[in-house]
Symmetry: C2
């Protein structure tokens, strides 16, 4: 073992409202050696995702909540340092749900070797990882997007949002992104090729949507909930699909604000549908191939926001997501 | 003409919140004679529907709002009194959107002759009319109901609700109805064969749903919105369908209460979808045949709440819908 110590971030208590330092425990324990059929790895990159907030609440959801005192759940990329597993060799880079800790032991279940020749390692957490998979299946499967349709995505400058918009463009659709701040909006319409961007901090989103899309929205991909969801519901085209991916504006709220415009689903014969990306695991390889092709031919640009630090930086880095502090996929690189 | 006068109810102003007498104008004008290609009819039955409240608001919807000073829109059954139309003879009973007035003139568009040998005339406003069609297509097409599934319907003792529950039973499903008051609940589980009923005035709906349906709801047919919709959203089974048919609890509200539990659509991979029954017009005959068969073989009981009076009784009869005063299809029979 390169190190005898394993620094970890564990959940100290159930957070109420916004996360704070007292919600986490910073722990050091001895790094373990891998038993038979297992490998040991050193964490290189940790994924930070809005969904993490939901994992901390003690209520029924698509995954059990992170237990009090447990290592925080997170997707990460580790480098194999020792192996008693035939599928993994020293030096391999592996992606999996290894948690927020410096060292991991794995029996290989749910762990996937990545090929660093294809793309930089952190891409396997973002564009070619859960963020890309979420965008791909949410938009194409749940949203049933058809060529020539009109797509609106909120949280457009985030990990999933940047992918949603670019996949929609690759599929021949018109795309409007909603994001906070002029800088993010300029990035969307500039580098990422969105047709238009709406700055929700500076504009009336509903009015802006009506101006940009007088014929209405065919697919609305919602990452934020709250008032922006309501604005989009007011601007649906007939038979529109609203993809419920997340609600970052509500995750720290003690009472969720329901969409008061939901009756436009009736007027517009529209549907609102939720999904969980893990259900699509059998088709991840297929999606990764198509996304990989778009990255190679330049139609999709990979946007990452990499914070370099230690696992101790995890709590404050996570906060960036809820303050709109990141652009593209937020990753903590351990140095 | 049997009468030289035509009494009408017209919209006097845009109502705010609850309807009141000042929202309506009671007008008498001379009854007209039918021109070439038209027939005249005397109104026999007028349909009263929760959707009427929405037609009074000046906002974009699936039908244009009723104009100020216009005769109130309503489905009704008229008896032909004079005809210059080859398709309609004196004495024929005809169903159509003829409005709240004693006498009508029609060119036959959207008018349908009914066969009083099949069922009593008012049935063509309820079980074999728009209420039945709404239940049928909402449940089977939008809700995509499958045999053996679990259905919950709110407003269960109303015109649509009584049909939803009985159609679901005819399709081999388990049905729980939500209604207000012990009397309505007893009717649902007694005469109408629902498996269970929840009295929302006396019970905690969410707890009762969990007790009745520990495995969750497959199809929730919502007629009411508000807190009951939220309770149902909290109890969905995986891949559930929420059919948004109406929101009677919200129609008189100046601000609609959005469903704060909508994120369970995500957790449960569920969808919430709206529809408008008029879209299914090409398939009404097919539905009427199947519903007619169930009425004949006794699997569906037709439940009507008939108020006998004049068109002047329309405003206060309409109020019954929003106060839970009716059981089954509410009809005003002109005497």
């Amino acid at each position: 073992m390169l190190s005898a110590e394993n620094r970890q971030i564990r959940l100290a208590r159930r957070p109420v409202g916004e996360l704070g330092p007292e919600d986490w425990e910073h722990v050091t324990e001895p790094a373990a050696a891998p038993g038979e059929g297992r490998f040991a790895g050193r964490t290189r990159f940790i994924s930070l995702d809005p969904a993490m907030r939901g994992w901390l609440d003690d209520r029924p959801s698509y995954l059990p909540p992170v237990g009090l005192g447990e290592v925080m759940r997170a997707g990460s990329i580790v480098e194999v340092t020792e192996s008693n597993h035939p599928g993994f060799a020293i030096g391999d880079l592996v992606v999996g749900m290894f948690g927020v800790q410096e060292h991991v032991i794995s029996d290989g279940k749910g762990a996937l070797r990545i090929d660093p020749a294809t793309a930089s390692p952190s891409t396997f957490l973002g564009a070619l990882g859960m963020s890309g998979m979420t965008a791909y299946f949410g938009l194409l499967d749940v949203g049933a997007l058809k060529e020539g349709e009109t797509v609106v995505v909120s949280g457009a400058a985030g990990a999933v949002g940047t992918m949603v918009g670019q996949i929609a463009k690759a599929k021949g659709c018109r795309v409007v992104g909603i994001a906070g701040g002029a800088e993010k909006c300029a990035l969307l319409t500039g580098e990422l090729g969105f047709d238009a961007a709406i700055d929700y901090r500076a504009e009336n989103v509903r009015k802006a949507l009506r101006t940009q899309l007088p014929d209405g929205i065919d697919v609305y991909f919602d990452n934020v909930g709250g008032e922006i969801l309501d604005a989009a519901l007011a601007c649906l085209a007939m038979r529109a699909r609203v993809v419920v991916c997340g609600a970052i504006s509500q995750y720290n709220a003690t009472a969720v604000q329901g969409p008061s415009n939901y009756l436009s689903l009736l007027v517009r014969r529209a549907r609102m549908e939720g999904f969980v990306v893990f259900d699509y695991a059998p088709r991840f390889a297929e999606a990764a191939r198509e996304i990989g092709g778009w990255i190679t031919d330049g139609r999709i640009k990979v946007l990452e926001h990499v914070v370099r630090g230690t696992v101790d930086d995890f709590p404050q880095t996570l906060q960036m997501l809820f303050r709109g502090g990141n652009t593209g996929k937020l990753v903590l690189e351990l140095v």
